[in-house]
């Protein structure tokens, strides 16, 4: 079933990280407003494949807004113009017939282009590996209800834990800062009793790794919060800064836990 929207796409094409890229213009024809943005690209790619041309490469997987694999910088916005959704949940009814849509990859030196619209976000994994966990081995025997956690704390930790690691915050930031992403994990674990023993070492390790990966500094502009598809709040960054400064100031005395 085809639709009646005709669009012009300006798409970033780049063979790999070693070559330079350029915009290529495509027509997307007979597009239905019920299609998701990625389904619109599927249609374009089917056409390219039939012509023997190479389809446009982009990252995607679950197509229900939770895996964090899809990206795309659409008309100057990560995940497109609509708030609170990922590209896979953005529908073509958000656009109008005849529109020209510009599609770029995430732009940040810490996210090198893999091919066309796909980038390498392994820096995010390395930041998590540096300390985004509670150090417990499998097989703990403490009952799940042994540590009561006030509902408000559990809910707040959950809000931070909903980060999908897509990288929109970095793409939205003029400094390509990863502070929102890092602070979401630091906040989740910093709020919960399980995360207390490593609270101050965790924040230092994760921030150190973030700096090593070449992400920029935070200047509190808030573009990350505005563009985050999961609406992670800027207050996470405030919490992380607080923990980070506490750690730096009181680290050597070894009493930072008592100060809180």
């Amino acid at each position: 079933m085809n639709g009646n929207m005709n669009l012009t796409l300006k798409v970033w094409r780049q063979k790999n990280a070693q070559t330079s890229g350029k915009f290529v213009t495509y027509k997307a024809e007979a597009i239905s407003p019920d299609m998701s943005f990625l389904e619109m690209l599927d249609v374009v790619n089917e056409g390219l494949t039939h012509k023997g041309d190479e389809p446009i490469n982009f990252d995607h997987d679950c197509r229900e807004g939770i895996c964090g694999m899809c990206s795309l910088y659409i008309n100057g916005h990560p995940h497109g113009p609509k708030r609170g959704v990922t590209t896979c949940q953005l529908h073509m009814r958000t656009f109008h017939d005849g529109e020209t849509i510009t599609i770029e990859p995430w732009r940040a030196s810490a996210f090198p282009v893999v091919k066309d619209l796909a980038v390498d976000r392994s820096a995010f994994d390395r930041i998590q590996q540096a300390g985004g966990y509670v150090s417990v081995n499998t097989g703990v025997s403490t009952d799940g209800n042994a540590i009561p956690i006030p509902k408000v704390i559990a809910d707040e930790a959950f809000n931070s834990a909903t980060c999908i690691g897509c990288g929109a915050c970095v793409a939205a930031c003029k400094n390509a800062s990863a502070m929102l992403f890092v602070s979401a994990k630091v906040t989740q674990l910093g709020l919960l009793p399980q995360g207390q023993p490593e609270r101050y070492s965790r924040v230092q390790s994760m921030v150190a790794q973030m700096d090593e990966e070449g992400f920029g500094s935070c200047t509190n502009t808030g573009a990350c919060e505005a563009e985050c598809p999961k609406e992670i709040k800027l207050t996470n960054i405030a919490r992380m800064n607080n923990d980070f400064f506490s750690a730096k100031l009181f680290r050597e005395e070894g009493v930072h836990d008592a100060k809180h």
Partner: protein, 644 residues
């Protein structure tokens, strides 16, 4: 070849404890001499990788996504069951075991299912310790809900994103071991074959999805944690990348495939809008607690609704057929998933489907809103309603939702014994990619439980026994079997890349999906299945002549990745049809029209079909050979389901 499930002797409740004691242990100092390969990093894979690395084994983990955190476990919404009995409502390990066996329509092993129920309580403790933010009550204790028609509240959840939170917990444990240097993580790497030496799995062949490099990896054991195969239907609730390739290639190297025809179809999904559609979105079945399912009584009214000349709220009460309430007065809208799905399909086939395509029925909240108020309904289901609005641009507070069933989960998978070992020694299958615990139908909130049970609490014990027996002698890729298997993979890729026909791989996939959905979907007949077999054979032949695969191997090439996966789905589809045809009974999610009760319910044939079907690959284009593992029931009495 005899199939030995290796269920331990002794009373049901003591089997696992006894078995854990009987299993051989690997000396702590020797653990670092063993290399373990784990494919897939969802709940089963990530939890296994972390747990085995913690024990001291060297782990290499692989995923095709750009990060282990993307695995499709992340999309599970509802929750995870555990027999904690925190609610004091009569739950117990035995009750969870019993519900799971019964829910699986008596086609799962008692021993496995009991163990699953037993370790379910440890999973919750483990996840809480990791900092998984489960829902809590005001007193600070863990909250539970009743799920999927269960009569006790044993489901733990984290809003509608339980899978995400559990996966991120397992991912964090995995990250800790990567940081410690005990796990080497390979992302954007796809497993394309298993290497066997003297009948034992000793490694894998992979393709680096960035450079195209075909590489070999050796290990003392290979664990497949690669998920289910719902995408054989083209449209399903699975992620686009979810595929059967790792499991299927293992099958072609000797691992038996268990009960391939057992698939679960979920009744409350958002209907298809057109051919462009790439996947289906599930909405939690909790919606059926308050929503009423109906279709127009007459084809004429349905016709008007399809054309849009009238709206759903204009259909008079007398012209509506609340068909679940009418046919199943006791359970009403809460009948099991397969019953609700099949009835919706029947309505559509009678010409009473609604929506532009006609492939939908209504799920109406008007009465609930009248009874409870819009605010209460919003508090309960707000996020689901928002999702519906987002996708359909319709407001379910004003008009009923349109729903239709979609393929959601596959109970079938690689055959494994009690130790999660396939019949190929050294090759293990965990999580959805094995067949083991859900029988012919899976209960809600049990998939997450099984993935984590296998990875955190079963494999760390059972794998040690095998490793202790084979010893720590180094395995490396210099053995000629590695080069030979690698050569096979390269030849296969060249064959795919040579396809320069006139039909895209996606078109083949869609066609396969149509065949599977039509003839091997919610209701299956001998006639339809026989027809499907012919259609799939023809599709396969056509694929290998007329498909288009663009680009080359030495680059990022989604077209090539896709082509390999679809080729495997086509072969799997044929086996599913064989299995469905062989199983001339109805059970769980497998409904054979020829085998039903007078009320139109699934009718089992315990005398002839109380067995696991394990299929053996015998070579390209050769019929597969069926092996039967008889199911023995000692603790439960087999009964006929009845929801009327």
């Amino acid at each position: 070849m005899s199939l030995d499930a290796k269920i331990p002797e002794g009373p049901l409740a003591q089997k696992w404890s006894k078995h854990k004691f009987d299993l051989k242990l690997v000396n702590p100092a020797n653990k670092r001499k063993y290399d373990i390969i784990i494919v897939g990093t969802g709940l089963a894979g990530a939890s296994a990788a972390a747990s085995l690395a913690e024990l001291g084994y060297n782990v290499k983990a692989f995923c095709f996504q750009d990060s282990p955190r993307r695995a499709h476990s992340i999309a599970a919404q509802g929750g995870i069951n555990a027999a904690k009995n925190y609610q004091n409502d009569g739950d117990s390990v035995f009750r969870l075991f019993y519900d799971t066996i019964k829910g699986g329509d008596y086609r799962a092993r008692e021993g496995n299912v009991y163990r699953l129920a037993e370790v379910s309580v440890n999973i919750i403790d483990q996840c809480v310790a990791q900092g998984v933010p489960f829902a809590r009550e005001y007193g600070g204790l863990l909250d539970n809900r009743s799920f999927g028609g269960s009569q006790v509240s044993r489901t733990f959840y984290a809003r509608g994103q339980t899978g995400q939170q559990l996966l991120l917990g397992a991912y964090s444990a995995l990250n800790r071991q990567i940081h410690a240097g005990k796990v080497q993580m390979y992302t954007r790497t796809e497993m394309l074959d298993v290497v066997t030496i003297d009948g034992h799995a000793k490694g894998i062949v992979t393709r680096n999805m960035i450079t195209g490099a075909i590489e070999t990896h050796a290990g003392h054991a290979v664990l497949l944690c690669t998920g289910g195969y719902s995408n054989v239907f083209y449209l399903s609730t699975n992620a686009i990348g979810s595929n059967v390739t790792a499991a299927w290639r293992a099958h072609k190297r000797g691992a038996f495939f268990g009960n391939p025809c057992y698939t679960q179809i979920h009744p409350t999904c958002i209907p298809v809008t057109g051919d462009h559609q790439s996947k289906l979105t599930l909405m939690s079945e909790s919606l059926r607690n308050d929503g009423r399912v109906w279709a127009p009584k007459t084809v004429e009214v349905a016709e008007q609704l399809r054309k849009g000349t009238i709206k759903a709220d204009q259909v008079k009460e007398d012209d509506r057929d609340y068909f679940l309430e009418r046919k199943y007065p006791a359970f009403g809208n809460l009948v099991p998933r397969d019953v609700a799905s099949r009835n919706a399909k029947e309505m559509v086939e009678e010409g009473k489907g609604v929506g532009g395509s006609g492939f939908a029925v209504f799920l109406d909240f008007a009465d609930a809103i009248k009874r409870l108020g819009e605010d209460t309904v919003r508090a309960k289901y707000g996020n689901l309603f928002d999702m519906y609005i987002q996708i359909t641009d319709e407001n379910p507070y004003k008009q009923p939702m349109r729903i239709y069933p979609a393929v959601h989960y596959t109970m079938g998978g690689l055959w494994v014994d009690y130790n999660l070992s396939t019949n190929v020694p050294g090759l293990y299958a965990l999580g959805e990619c094995n067949f083991s615990d859900h029988g012919a139908n899976r209960l809600g909130a049990s998939a997450l439980m099984q993935g984590l049970s296998d990875g955190y609490f079963v494999i760390p014990y059972t794998l040690g026994d095998y490793l202790a027996k084979i010893g720590p002698k180094k395995v490396d890729t210099s053995h000629p079997a590695f080069e030979a298997t690698k050569k096979d993979v390269i030849t296969y890729i060249s064959k795919l890349l040579a396809l320069k026909g006139n039909k895209t791989v996606n078109e083949y996939h869609r066609e396969l999906g149509h065949i599977m959905w039509e003839y091997c979907g919610m209701a299956r007949t001998a006639e339809g299945l026989t027809k499907a077999k012919g259609l799939i054979k023809a599709l396969k032949a056509d694929f290998w002549v007329n498909a288009i695969v663009t680009g080359e191997n030495e680059e990022v090439n989604a077209s090539l990745e896709r082509a390999g996966r679809i080729a495997d789905f086509i072969e799997l589809g044929e086996l599913m049809v064989d299995d469905a045809l062989m199983r001339n009974e109805s059970c769980g999610g497998h409904f054979r029209v020829e085998s039903q009760t007078a009320d139109g319910e699934a009718l089992r044939d315990d005398e002839n079909f109380a067995f696991v079907a394990a299929w053996e690959f015998k070579g390209e284009n050769q019929p597969e050979v069926l092996h039967k593992e008889e199911l023995v029931f000692e603790a439960v009495h087999l009964s006929q389901r009845n929801y009327a």
